[in-house]
């Protein structure tokens, strides 16, 4: 058999035996060459060549042995081929394993290099520590964050990284990780930097276990949140503090109050406001006003360790947990705030009024407490300012009733529930009718007839006085005009009371002009009665002058009850004094001092052309004394109680 047909047979045996990683042509070429080598007795080389051609399937060797044996019948040659094959396959296998090991090592190195690169270049800080607290490895980000080199950090122990603001249970949580109870903890933690600075981080600590599941390392990952936290703190502070004074604002006070209600048994609250602060703002400017508020806030902070806050404008509060001596505290605050302030070139004094409330938390709510303090403050102000008042539930109830009444007034005006009565003023010489004083009554549908004392101060506070006053004036003027028309030869003057805020109203002269025009009343028949303080208030002077210019006369009501200063009587357009009730009352018993006072007043008044009327004249002896002392007119039950308009008309009609 020639070599090529042997090669062909050999090829067929191989192909049938198993996997041949060569195509038929290639295999044919290879085997032709090997057949010649076999003929040359190079058995070992042939065996090696088969392996080199990757005919490494054991079936390949078997098929080859069979083919050679069949062709050559030479056992030695077969043995040489087998030995060469085995040697080559051993070498190839060792080479393959070595290549594989090298590949694995390279792959591991590449993989580790990637991990190392991630570790080193990560933007977040990563640190590994052993279970005994030694820091084993940290990356640059972590070391940079704390201002160390990684080598320096690796000489530290985890517990040395403690910080006073660490969460209270942080070490307990860390212990739980070390002991394997939890696998992760996350918290916000502060660190001191090497340079003493402070940074805040978002820290996650994870436990790494060994193959047996035992805790082996912890990995800490930190992110710098210092700026974020600072911003958050600033925003929180802005949202809860007053930018001017730096005190907690209304929002913060509300949440602090809620907290006290949750955590304490009782609560105290001082609600304070500065007396006449608006005037400082108006006269010295807002700059000075703001500086004064800042100074007040500083005093509040210094005078109490309790939470002080600014509610609005010039209103402040002090919150007290489980209070012991609220009145002592309030007094201390008043004293502290009343010391003079130096604001720029100004030296200012200002007082404060304080409403003080103290209550077990179970008995009230934050809202009720605030409301009670506010009402008490209000009462302290009404009581004359520069003082504190303790909360009084009865006063509170009265106050609430007053508020309710005040709220009803505008509607009452629309429903015409107000009426006027008129009390005559008579000449003390001959009891001749000289005029009437219009007095307003409220026919309240539920409370019955109310006298002015019970609602005029309220109307003054709420501002309804302006509408009510206009109505009173128009009604009184219309009536007076009617009487003047019906009884042209009886000059009956109409006295109408006016409050301080009416006198302050810039539109008053125009209103009066309109009323006079509509009613046709002669201005010389109109008398406007004001209290001493209203007359002296500089804000109303212009209005009074304007009224006097129109021929209207001005009377000072209740003369002698205020800080009587006779000097102003010459400067202001005053035509009439009405002696206050107490002086007249004193005349009843023939009190010599009162007689002297009345006599002096009358003489002084007459000296500057002012007439005097005595109010509340009730007995003939009073009348006699007044007449003797030179008083011009009298008013009181002795002469007549207040009358309806019809009653006055009848009086006029009588001869």
């Amino acid at each position: 058999m020639n070599p090529s047909s042997f090669a062909d047979q050999w090829r067929q045996r191989l192909t049938a035996a198993g996997f041949v990683p060569l195509d038929a042509d290639r295999l044919g070429e290879l085997l032709s060459g090997l057949a010649e080598a076999l003929a040359g007795g190079q058995g070992e080389a042939v065996g090696a060549a088969l392996v080199e051609a990757r005919l490494t399937d054991p079936a390949m060797l078997a098929a080859t042995v069979e083919a050679i044996d069949a062709q050559f019948g030479d056992r030695e040659l077969v043995a040489q081929v087998a030995a060469g094959y085995a040697q080559a396959i051993r070498a190839a296998t060792m080479a393959g394993q070595e290549e594989l090991n090298q590949a694995v090592l390279r792959a591991l190195r590449a993989s580790e290099a990637r991990l190392r690169a991630v570790f080193d270049n990560a933007a977040i800080g990563i640190g590994v520590s052993a279970m005994d607290g030694r820091i084993v490895q940290v990356n640059h980000a972590f070391a940079d964050l704390l201002g160390y080199t990684p080598e320096q950090m690796c000489r530290l122990l985890v517990p040395s990284l403690t910080h006073p603001e660490d969460p209270r249970d942080m070490w307990r949580m860390y212990q739980a990780v070390i002991e394997g109870d939890v696998d992760h903890v996350r918290m916000e933690k502060a660190y001191y930097r090497k340079d003493g600075g402070e940074i805040w981080t978002d820290l996650t600590v994870s436990l790494i276990r060994d193959d047996a599941g035992r805790p082996e390392f912890t990995i800490a990952m930190v992110q710098d949140i210092t700026d974020r936290r600072r911003l958050k703190k600033r925003l929180e502070h802005q949202a809860t503090h007053d930018p001017l004074t730096g005190l907690p604002n209304r929002t913060k006070i509300a949440s602090d109050l809620d907290r006290i209600f949750r955590e304490h048994k009782s609560v105290g609250l001082c609600y304070l406001d500065l007396d006449g602060f608006k005037r400082i703002n108006d006269t010295l400017g807002h700059q000075v006003g703001d500086e004064l508020l800042t100074a007040v806030a500083a005093r509040l902070r210094e005078s109490t360790s309790h939470v002080a806050g600014r509610m609005s404008g010039d209103e402040f509060v002090v919150l007290v947990e489980d209070p012991e001596d609220m009145s002592g505290l309030a007094q201390r605050i008043l004293t502290e705030l009343s010391r003079p302030y130096r604001i720029g070139k100004h030296r200012l004094r200002i007082s404060a009024s304080i409403g003080v409330v103290e209550s077990p938390v179970a008995a009230t709510s934050p809202q009720e407490l605030m409301k009670a303090a506010d009402l008490t403050l209000y009462a302290a102000k009404s009581d004359g300012r520069g003082r504190f008042l303790m909360y009084d539930p009865e006063r509170d109830a009265r106050q609430a009733a007053r508020y309710a009444l005040a709220a009803e007034m505008p509607d009452a005006l629309d429903r015409r529930e107000f009426t006027l009565v008129y009390q005559p003023l008579v000449s003390l010489e001959d009891r001749e009718l000289r005029g009437v004083e219009a007095l307003v009554r409220w026919d309240h549908p539920r409370l019955g007839r109310l006298s002015p004392d019970s609602f005029i101060p309220l109307a003054e506070e709420t501002g309804v006085i302006l509408a009510l006053g206009r109505w009173v004036l128009e009604e009184a003027c219309a009536r007076a005009a009617e009487w003047a028309k019906t009884f042209p030869d009886r000059r009956v003057c109409m006295s109408v009371n006016m409050t301080v805020s009416q006198a302050h109203e810039p539109g008053l002269p125009a209103d009066v002009d309109g009323i006079l025009a509509r009613t046709g009343l002669d201005p010389s028949l109109l008398v406007v009665e004001l209290t001493e303080s209203a007359v002296m208030d500089p804000g109303g002077t212009a209005s009074l002058v304007a009224l006097a210019d129109r021929g209207i006369r001005i009377a000072i009501d209740d003369f002698g009850t205020g800080y009587s200063n006779l000097a102003y009587l010459r400067r202001l357009p005053v035509h009439m004094l009405k002696l206050a009730g107490p002086f007249v009352d004193g005349l009843r018993d023939g009190d010599k001092v009162d007689e002297h006072i009345v006599e002096t007043i009358v003489r002084l008044a007459h000296a500057i052309g002012i007439s005097v009327t005595a109010e509340a004249v009730e007995t003939p002896s009073q009348e006699a004394a007044l007449r003797r002392l030179g008083c011009d007119t009298g008013q009181g039950w002795l002469f007549s109680r207040p009358l309806t308009a019809e009653g006055v008309t009848e009086l006029l009609r009588a001869p």
């Binding site: 990757r54 490494t56 393959g96 090298q102």
Partner: protein
């Protein structure tokens, strides 16, 4: 992160598909864990080694065919350990100006491939998952020109992608990235005409990095959407253009795998 970053690490304690394949091809580039699994699979499906070899033979014939069609660029995805009869040898022998990019997810296979190819110009190895088409195309385009026809080889790899990961979408992404005149080669394991123990082998394959999903012919044929299958279409591997010298295989279904080549 570096461009070679892949999340998969090197885990020598688990068998690798690439090394198991190497074992079946008679290579020595495998560990005991790989051989252990290979032997278990072999016990279940005695034809498995033949299937693997048959796949290798098909690849050789197909690469020759593709070179004959004028293809000079090859992208072999799931290349494994390039031992006996690998693609670059066949292609470079047939046409010296051929360019070949190997892609595998096994870092060991990739390192080994790099060692083998260190002195072979116009070849490159990419560490990537077959599903990560963006990364594959990005890396491959450093060597291959995707404006010219490319043969994309998915030999014995799509069955490692479970249905949940939508292998059809992966193939479609590749199709959209290659120009007209490009070729797609797929060989894929199937249960068609297979005994029940094949299913057990499939279950065992779960111990390698990925489980094998056997698919019927129609499903595999659908992967060629947008391509036109060349003769003889999708067939059991031994039936794909066998060498005329090879004996006719009467039972090609025992191989348990389909093969097809198609042109865009």
């Amino acid at each position: 992160m570096g461009e070679d970053w892949v999340p998969a690490g090197v885990d020598m304690s688990r068998p690798s598909a690439a090394r198991v394949y190497d074992y079946f091809l008679g290579g020595a580039h495998n560990f005991a864990v790989d051989r252990e699994l290979a032997q278990q699979i072999e016990a279940m499906t005695p034809n498995i080694a033949e299937t693997m070899r048959s796949n290798r033979v098909f690849l050789r014939r197909a690469v020759r065919f593709l070179v004959d069609q004028g293809i000079r660029q090859f992208l072999d995805i799931g290349s494994g350990i390039p031992t006996a009869g690998n693609v670059h040898e066949i292609a470079l022998e047939a046409a010296a100006d051929s360019k070949i990019v190997y892609v595998d997810v096994d870092p060991v296979a990739v390192e080994h491939s790099r060692a083998i190819l260190v002195d072979t110009p116009n070849t490159a190895v990419v560490l990537a998952d077959a599903r990560d088409v963006d990364r594959i195309l990005g890396e491959a385009s450093k060597l291959l020109d995707f404006d010219r026809p490319v043969a994309v080889l998915l030999a014995g790899v799509l069955h490692f992608i479970p249905d949940g990961d939508d292998p059809a979408a992966t193939v479609a992404e590749i199709r959209d990235a290659v120009p007209a005149g490009s070729y797609l080669l797929i060989s894929h394991a199937t249960a068609d005409g297979q005994p029940a123990e094949v299913i057990e082998a499939q279950r065992l394959s779960g111990r390698t990095a990925t489980e094998i999903t056997l698919r019927p012919a129609a499903e595999i044929e659908a992967y060629f959407g947008g391509f036109e299958l060349v003769e003889p279409g999708l067939v059991f591997i031994p039936r794909w253009r066998p060498d005329p010298q090879d004996p006719v295989d009467e039972h090609p279904e025992r191989i348990g795998a389909y093969a097809g080549v198609a042109k865009k």
